[in-house]
């Protein structure tokens, strides 16, 4: 068959992990059993269930994972409902990778990194965090502030407990919105927690989460004296092609699918407030 960027390849969902009541992580391999394609942390892919639809998802696994791609997906619409009902061994279609990704080998190199995530917002950062853990000596201090509504809503909780928390040089700060019996950690919203922790303003910040978390965390970081060109985030808008042609994911002159999804806040300041 003649190829086209819009024609996907077949992928096999080889493994499904239940993360939270509404988040599952899907491992996808090609029909040949190998990783479908290489990517940069922060890039996305189009997954589809033929007959249901196609949607864009952030690639959650690190590029250093050689055998597969993983996607942590929250159940919130037609395609995601269908994905959540799948069993291992079933097939999907996949195309990508799309977008710019995080500048892990350039602007991040040698920097102290502060990751701030809320809820499913950890998904796109998971890829970067594990990439930085793999090449640990290329980066300085790594701090992670991650919050969710409850302990059950923390995505990747097992991995955080068993791997991230026990690693030297990585400081993980977890928080949940409200007290609950089996939780002895921090309680409170992410923006306040970040301010309480009072991180060094020389750190490069990578942030992803619900808009309200982004807004207030950004405000707090400004108060602490962080420069806007040192703070990165990743955006999502509705997409059909992911190639910069279907015309719907633009913010002013920039297309989230190809100019993003990763933007620095000084770059977003130049764009209209329409996202």
């Amino acid at each position: 068959m003649r190829r086209d960027p819009l024609i996907p390849m077949i992928g096999v969902v080889s493994h499904i992990r239940v993360d939270t009541p509404d988040v599952k992580t899907f491992r996808v391999i090609g029909l040949d059993g190998k990783k479908p394609f290489e990517h940069i942390p922060g890039q996305c892919a189009m997954l589809s269930v033929p007959g249901v639809g196609e949607a864009l998802f952030s690639i959650t696994s690190s590029p250093t994972e050689e055998a597969y791609l993983e996607f942590s997906i929250k159940k919130c619409g037609c395609v995601t409902d269908w994905l959540h009902a799948m069993t291992p061994g079933q097939q999907v279609t996949i195309r990508g990778p799309y977008g710019n990704g995080f500048p892990v080998d350039t602007e991040f190199a040698g920097k102290d990194l502060l990751f701030v995530a809320g809820g499913i917002g950890l998904a796109p950062l998971h890829s970067v965090i594990n990439y930085c853990r793999h090449y640990r000596d290329r980066y300085g201090r790594i701090d992670i502030v991650y919050g969710a509504r409850s302990k059950e809503d923390l995505v990747d909780y097992e991995e955080i407990l068993n791997e991230w928390l026990s690693e030297d040089g990585i400081n993980v700060h977890l928080t949940i919105d409200r007290e609950q019996p089996d939780w002895d950690g921090h309680v409170g919203f992410v923006p306040n927690y970040v301010k309480e922790l009072s991180p060094d303003t020389g750190m490069t910040v990578v942030m992803c989460g619900p808009p309200v978390m982004i807004k207030f965390t950004l405000g707090g970081l400004m108060e602490l004296g962080f420069p806007r060109d040192g703070i990165y985030t990743t955006l999502e808008l509705r997409m059909k092609c992911a190639l910069g042609k279907c015309g719907r994911c633009n913010i002013g002159s920039k297309y989230v699918c190809k100019d993003g999804p990763v933007f620095r806040f000084d770059q977003l300041d130049e764009l209209p407030d329409e996202y």
Binding site: M1, I7, C76, Q91, V92, K245, C249, L271, E274
Partner: protein, 340 residues
């Protein structure tokens, strides 16, 4: 230059058609003129413009992308791509000819859209100078010369002859295959060109000012109060986008029947409320944002990304078709008045 008598046009069309599919503007039963395949009964529409633009030839309203056979065993891809044969598109006006350049910059940019690219490669575009530009025409504002339109071949028509000037290798190849073309009288084609130039100087929209729009104008125009008033009566019907030669936004949808799924793309419109709707929210919640997007895209965003080129060709179709008589000229003028 070549020429052929107008009473021999059918012979010319028959000769082209013998070689490859020929599309010419024809009047349909409902009164609309559209590009349709030539047949012995077909008559060349002599009016200025087709109702829909010529973009359909390269970017059809609906097009199959790929099929899927879905079963217990899994998913199988099915090739549903239409085979593209060489064709000639005759009678394209200068405005629509420019629209192909504008669409090329989107569809032929990496990664290349092969569906569009195949049709572009297969086409020989024969343009026709506009003898009678209309009061809704403003292509000259965008530097388009309707008296000498770009194309693989440029044609002029007077009361007696069609004058034929090949411009490209494709145009020369077509010309060489048409032995019925006679040696052309350049002076007569030139006279047609000059007559058109004279009409252009009298068109009501000839002085449309574009200095206040274009690349780099997002900050100056995005938050202007005029958007709310201009968009107030917009019905969100999308007629403007469907007749527009440069509107290129598309949707990808699926049609399911039995065990197979046909994935197709079809034209979409930024004027529609579900265009940007997500489960996580809606960045353009009212018609004002959607209306602003359409005009900002043509007048600012596209120029930002394409060396200042506007994504409007001044064909005037939206001026004629909008049910509430809103259009890009009114938008440009309103933004001009509000510019101190």
């Amino acid at each position: 230059m070549k020429q052929i008598a107008l009473n021999r046009l059918d012979e010319l069309f028959a000769a082209i058609s013998a070689r490859q599919t020929l599309l010419i503007p024809q009047q349909l039963e409902n009164g609309d003129a559209e590009f349709r395949p030539w047949s012995a009964e077909a008559k060349l529409y002599t009016g200025l413009k087709t109702s829909r633009s010529a973009k359909d030839a390269f970017f059809p309203q609906v097009e199959n992308l790929v099929g899927f056979k879905v079963s217990e065993q899994g998913i199988e891809l099915m090739d549903t791509r239409d085979e593209v044969q060489p064709f000639t598109l005759f009678g394209v006006r200068g405005c629509d000819a420019r629209s192909f350049d504008i669409l090329d910059r989107v569809f032929l940019a990496e990664p290349v859209d092969t569906f569009y690219a195949d049709r572009r490669a297969a086409a020989t575009v024969v343009t026709l100078a506009c003898n009678r530009p209309e009061t809704t025409c403003f292509c000259q504002s965008f530097g388009i010369d309707p008296s000498r339109p770009a194309g693989d071949v440029t044609c002029w028509m007077d009361a007696e002859n069609l004058y034929w000037q090949p411009n490209t290798d494709k145009g020369r190849a077509l010309t060489e295959a048409l032995s019925l073309l006679e040696e052309g009288e350049e002076a007569r084609a030139k006279r047609v060109e000059e007559d058109i130039q004279a009409v252009l100087k009298r068109l009501p929209l000839k002085d449309l000012s574009l200095d206040h729009v274009g690349a780099g104008k997002t900050k100056a125009l995005f938050d202007r109060p005029e958007w709310a008033e201009l968009s107030e009566a917009c019905l969100g019907c999308g007629a403007c986008t469907f007749v527009c030669p440069t509107c290129q936004c598309y949707d990808i949808e699926e049609f399911k029947s039995g065990g197979s799924v046909r994935r197709f793309r079809c034209w979409d419109s930024c004027m529609y409320s579900d265009f940007t709707l997500m489960s996580a929210g809606q960045p353009r919640p009212t018609q004002t944002e959607r209306f602003r997007q359409r005009f900002m895209h043509k007048l600012v965003y596209y120029p930002d990304n394409q060396d200042g080129l506007f994504s409007c060709v001044g064909c005037g179709r939206c001026l004629v078709k909008c049910p509430i008589h809103m259009n890009i000229v009114k938008v440009i003028n309103a933004l001009k008045e509000g510019t101190a």
